[in-house]
Symmetry: C2
DNA sequence: GTCGACGATGATAGCGGTTACATTCGATCG
DNA sequence: CGATCGAATGTAACCGCTATCATCGTCGAC
C-alpha cells in the first residue's frame, strides 16, 4: 500500500533558507521613531500610548511583520503565557475533551498549552511538574489529587496557581475541579439494585495504577454489600482497557460466575466489548444481563441496546478550569477551592 | 449526584506561600565556589568540567534543589527544548496516538510538547504556527500539507525544522511523514468489488473542512467508477462524526438507496453507528450489507461481526517523526524528505 | 504667572542563563 | 629551562524584552 515515491529522503525539501533575521523590538522602535519601552507598552497596554504613536508602531510592526520573542518577554516579566497540563494518558478520550475545553475556555487569551503525559505514574508526574514549573507557566493543571512527596513539595513551594482535576479532595493544594469517583460506584450499585439484579460483577483495569478507577470500584463493592448483595464477582484486564480485552475478560467473568446478571465495566470501551461478547454468547441484554459502563463516550448512545453509563463532566471540568484560571490570572480570586461538578447516571437499554 | 461539600470556594487551600525564592544558577555557583559559566557547562556539557568540580556543583544543585530557568536558557541560546505540534482535533484518537508516540520516541531527551488545536481551520493553524514559532521550538510538527499563504510564508521563513504529517506531498516544506489518503479510498473500492458488492455507498463528514477525508472520498469515488460501479450513493454528516450521527446518516442513506450493499464510512466511529443501525433494521452484515470503516480503532476488532477497516500508521507516524527529529536536532540529516508509512486494509467479518 | 498634577515617552537596569574570549596552570617538548 | 599547548575555569557581553523611574511638556487652578 505504499506509494513508490516514498523512498526515504529522496525528495528535495521545498524550503530554502532566507537568512533574514527575525526583527526585534528595537527594529520596530527605530522605524517608528520611538523607544522600545513605548513599543512594549503599545503592544501590551495600548491604552497607555497616544493614538498617533500607536499608529506608527502598528505600521512598523506590520511592515516588519514583527512577532515578539515570547521567551524574552517571559523572562523579563517572570511569567509566561503558558499553561501546563499533566494528564495520565493522551489516548483516553476523557482527558482530551477536558483539554479541548480548557483550551476553548481560554481561547483568544493567547495561552499555549504545555502538555505532559504521566502514563499514570506518580514519578513521571513528579518529573513533569518539575520541568513544567521551569517554564514559569501562568498555571499548572494536574490530574488527580494524589502525588509523590517530591511533587507535593514542588507544588506547595511554587507561586504558580495549581489546579487538581478529575477528582475531589478535602485538602486541595490550591484548587480542585472534579467529581467523586467513589460515588459513581455507589450510584451504579444502587441502580443495579433498583433494576432487580441479583448477582453483581465488575470488570476493572489497571487497578494498580489508576487509583481513580480503584475508587469507583471501592464505592461499588462497599455499596453492593451494604445493600444486600454478595461481594461482586470480579475480573481485572491485563494492561490498558480496550474493547477486545473487555470482551475477553467479560467472557471469563461469566464463565466463572454464570449467576452474574449485572456487570459494571470500568469504562465504556470495555463495556462495548462486553456488550458484543454477550451478543455473541446469545445472552440477551438487559434481560439476562445488565451492562453499565463509565464515561458516556459518544458511541454509548448509538449501541443496540443503548449502553447505560455514567456521564462524566469532562467538558465542564475544562470550562470550569478555564474560568477559574481566568480569575486567578486576572488577580481576582486569590485563593482556590473545591468544585464538585457531579456526574450523571445515564439509563439506557442495557440496564 | 453532587457531594455537599462541593460549594464553590469554601474549602481552604492547603498551600501556604513559603516565600523562598527559587535558587538561581548564581547561588549554585557561589556554594560550589565556581563561576556561573562553569555551572552552566557542568549542566549541559559535563565532560568539559573536571570531576571534582562537577561533584561540588552537583552537590550544590542537589542541596538547593536547583532547577534551571528554561526561559533564560532558551533566550540566551536562542533555542528551546520544546516541540510544537499542531493537530486538527484533540478528541480524535488518531492524533492522540501519534502525539503519544512522538512523546515516547523523544522520551528522556527532555523535550516538552507545545500542543495546538487548529480545529480543522487553516487560519487557526496560521495563528498557531506564528505563536509557536515565537517560542523558538526545536521543531514544529503540523498536520497536513495544505496551509494558508501566511502560514506558508512563516514556515518557509524560519530555520526551525518542520514536519508535515498524516499526509504526503511532492513538495514538502521540509519533511513529511504520512501515507496517501486517496489510496485508502482506492483500496476500499477495490475490496468491495472483490467481495462482490454491486452498489456502493459512502457516509462522510466535514467535507468542507477535513480535506484529508475528502481525498479518501475522491479516491473511493473515482476508483468505484473506473472499475464499473455507478457513482456511490452518498450522505454527509452534519458536524463532527459521531456514532449517533453515523447511525442516522446511514439510515438515511439506505432509505434513499435501498440497493446499496456496501458502505464506506469516513471513520470507525461512524461505521460503528452504521453497524448498530443495520442490526436494528435487521440487515445482516456482511451478507445483505458490507460495512468498512477507517482507522482500526480498538473496538473495531471487538465488534460482532468484526469491523473491516483501514489501519492507519498512527503510532508509526509519531515514532518516525521522533526519529527524524532526533537526527535533525543532533545536526545530522540536514535536509528533509517524504516518508510514506502506508496503511493496511484489515479484512474482518463486516465485509 | 507660577505650581502641581498628569499623561506620554525615554533611559536603563535587570530577568537568569549562555558562550566567545581571556586567563591560568601544569604538562610536554625541543 | 623557556616556549607551547591544552584542559579547566573565569570574565563579561549579550539574548530581547519588561518595568521602574526619570523627564518633559501641557494644562488647569489658584
Amino acid at each position: 500500500m505504499k506509494a513508490e515515491k516514498g523512498a526515504d529522503g529522496t525528495k528535495p525539501a521545498l524550503r530554502e533558507r532566507h537568512g533574514t533575521a527575525r526583527p526585534r523590538m528595537a527594529d520596530v522602535a527605530r522605524i517608528a521613531g520611538v523607544s522600545t519601552a513605548t513599543v512594549s507598552r503599545a503592544l501590551r497596554q495600548p491604552e497607555l500610548v497616544s493614538p498617533q504613536v500607536r499608529g506608527k508602531i502598528e505600521a512598523a510592526v506590520e511592515h516588519l511583520s514583527y512577532r515578539p520573542n515570547l521567551m524574552a518577554g517571559a523572562l523579563a516579566s517572570a511569567r509566561s503565557k503558558t499553561i501546563g497540563v499533566i494528564i495520565p494518558s493522551m489516548i483516553n478520550a476523557f482527558f482530551s475533551v477536558t483539554l479541548e475545553a480548557i483550551e476553548e475556555g481560554l481561547a483568544g487569551a493567547g495561552y499555549q498549552l504545555l502538555i505532559g503525559n504521566s502514563h499514570y505514574e506518580l514519578e513521571s508526574e513528579e518529573r513533569l511538574i518539575a520541568s513544567m514549573l521551569a517554564w514559569s507557566p501562568a498555571a499548572l493543571v494536574i490530574t488527580g489529587c494524589r502525588h509523590s512527596r517530591g511533587a507535593m513539595r514542588a507544588l506547595l513551594d511554587t507561586d504558580v496557581p495549581i489546579v487538581e482535576m478529575w477528582e475531589l479532595t478535602d485538602n486541595p493544594i490550591d484548587t480542585a475541579v472534579g467529581f467523586s469517583q467513589r460515588d459513581i460506584g455507589v450510584a451504579v450499585a444502587r441502580h443495579f439494585k433498583e433494576r432487580g439484579a441479583r448477582r453483581l460483577g465488575f470488570v476493572g483495569a489497571m487497578h494498580q495504577r489508576d487509583y481513580r478507577a480503584d475508587a469507583r470500584r471501592a464505592g461499588f463493592f462497599e455499596t453492593a454489600q451494604s445493600i444486600g448483595f454478595e461481594p461482586p464477582a470480579e475480573v481485572q484486564l491485563p494492561g490498558l482497557p480496550t474493547s477486545v480485552r473487555g470482551a475477553k475478560a467479560f467472557a471469563e467473568l461469566i464463565a466463572g460466575h454464570p449467576d452474574v446478571d449485572a456487570v459494571l465495566c470500568t469504562n465504556d470501551v470495555v463495556a462495548l466489548g462486553a456488550l458484543f461478547e454477550a451478543q455473541r454468547l446469545g445472552w440477551s441484554v438487559p434481560d439476562r444481563l445488565k451492562i453499565c459502563g463509565v464515561g458516556d463516550v459518544d458511541f454509548a448512545a448509538a449501541c443496540e441496546p443503548g449502553l447505560s453509563t455514567v456521564s462524566l463532566p469532562r467538558r465542564a471540568i475544562g470550562l470550569k478550569i478555564a474560568e477559574v484560571l481566568r480569575e486567578r490570572i486576572a488577580g481576582r480570586l486569590p485563593t482556590g477551592g473545591v468544585h464538585d461538578l457531579g456526574f450523571e447516571l445515564v439509563r439506557r437499554g442495557s440496564t
